[in-house]
Amino acid sequence: MRSRFQSGFSSSDRLLLDSLHRKLFGKDITKTGCSDCYRDAYVIIVNHLKKTKTMPKTPNYVLKGGALIHPFGTSKFYTNPISDEVAEEHLSNFPDEINKYAHYPDDWEARAAAFAKRKVAEIEAKKTHEEVEKVTPAADNSEEIENLKVQLTEAQEAAAKAELLRTEAENKVRELEEENTNLEKRIEELNAKTGNQTASDGEGVESEDVALLRMELETAKADLDAANEEIATLKTDNRALKAANTRLKNNGAKDTE
């Protein structure tokens, strides 16, 4: 072709240049009405090939001039260059239209059948996925589960806190009971001492120490009563919290199922 660069390209040269230009740049030679246009295209093509050092690959499927592929259910139309996927989808649906193709692989029938199989598998997988989505709770339910989980955690924390308070209260009750016992012993001792003193003095008047001890005793008794009441209240709260905790755990287990 180089030898005909000056004298002018033949019609087959021009066809080859057209084809190469389309493959390399994806478009036709812009102006074809003059011999210089093809010379320009020749120079552009040669420079490009020298730079890239690779000839353009011929696609597996090439449509004939004027042939148009319209995949079913779409508004798209395809002409050359056409991808393997589009061609195989078209041929899997319309094998008779192989006459629209200028070039195609020898095993186009097997390829089209494989494509159809892949498509069916994809559709089935999609259906299964949709069914699974239908069975599993929707996004709103998952939000509810999250809320319940948060509530459960909060309740568990509250129960743990209540348990701690209960233990503290029990300890306090024990301490108060011990103190009470000690105080009663002390009162008895003091009473015994006072009796002895009264008998020896013959006056029957309690000393200031005894009065103080009696006051202390009364205060201790009041503390004891208050502690007992607190214990009873805490026990009631504890029972209520345990019941609430059990309910929440049961609900959480049901939702997870």
């Binding site: 002018g8 019609s11 066809l15 057209d18 084809s19 389309r22 036709d28 009405g33 003059c34 011999s35 090439v62 449509l63 004939k64 001039g65 004027g66 042939a67 148009l68 319209h70 139309f77 002409t79 050359n80 239209e97 006459n99 629209k100 200028a102 070039h103």
Partner: protein
């Protein structure tokens, strides 16, 4: 051989479109291809109306060529006329093309070929019709267009010293064949791919 009697009966009212008013004439761009390059086996016609070609496909390695005639009345002289026959009437379709050039490339690549070849031409009517199906009309698809006149008048004001080619499809059985592939956009894409070839 099965016998069949053709029933030539009208099937629609003879009316004019009031919504889309007709416009006379043809647009400047057209397409021409060799008759023998057409893959008639791959081409398809509309099942409802055989005067509509849904796909005009060329054979492997073949391509169509673009035509451009400037001016407000390009392809002047393009017409269709009834040709009376002994038993059946047919149509003669004339296409006039001006080539505003007269160099060796034009002479070798176009005129010499037009003189002896058979061709098919697609022209774009200015009037697309209410459903756009009138837009692209095919000439020569049945009997093929052949040259009846090729004039190079050096002093012609019209052709500016270029060529005036008149091609005729003689005795075509169909009065008009239109190219329409699902939509106007798709038809244009198909026409562009005719030029790209394979």
């Amino acid at each position: 051989m099965a016998t069949e009697s053709c029933d030539y009966q009208l099937a629609a009212d003879l009316v004019a479109s009031c919504a889309v008013k007709p416009v006379k004439g043809i647009k400047s761009y057209g397409f021409i291809m060799n008759y023998n390059d057409i893959d008639f086996e791959a081409a398809a016609r509309d099942a409802q109306n055989p005067n509509i070609v849904k796909s005009l496909i060329l054979k492997t390695g073949k391509k169509a060529y673009k035509m451009y005639v400037p001016g407000k009345s390009p392809y002047t002289g393009t017409k269709k006329t009834l040709s009376a026959g002994t038993y059946r009437n047919r149509f003669n379709k004339d296409v006039s093309i001006v080539i505003l050039d007269n160099g060796p490339d034009v002479s070798h690549n176009i005129i010499d070929q037009l003189a002896n070849g058979t061709f098919v031409v697609v022209l774009e009517n200015k009037f697309p019709g209410s459903d756009n199906k009138n837009t692209f009309e095919i000439y020569g698809l049945e009997a093929g267009l052949t040259a009846t006149a090729l004039d190079d008048d050096k002093y012609s004001d019209d052709t500016e010293g270029g060529w005036l080619a008149t091609l005729q499809e003689e005795n075509a059985p169909t009065s008009g064949i239109f190219l329409y592939a699902e939509s106007l956009a798709a038809t244009r894409t198909a026409l562009e791919s005719l030029v790209s070839g394979s």
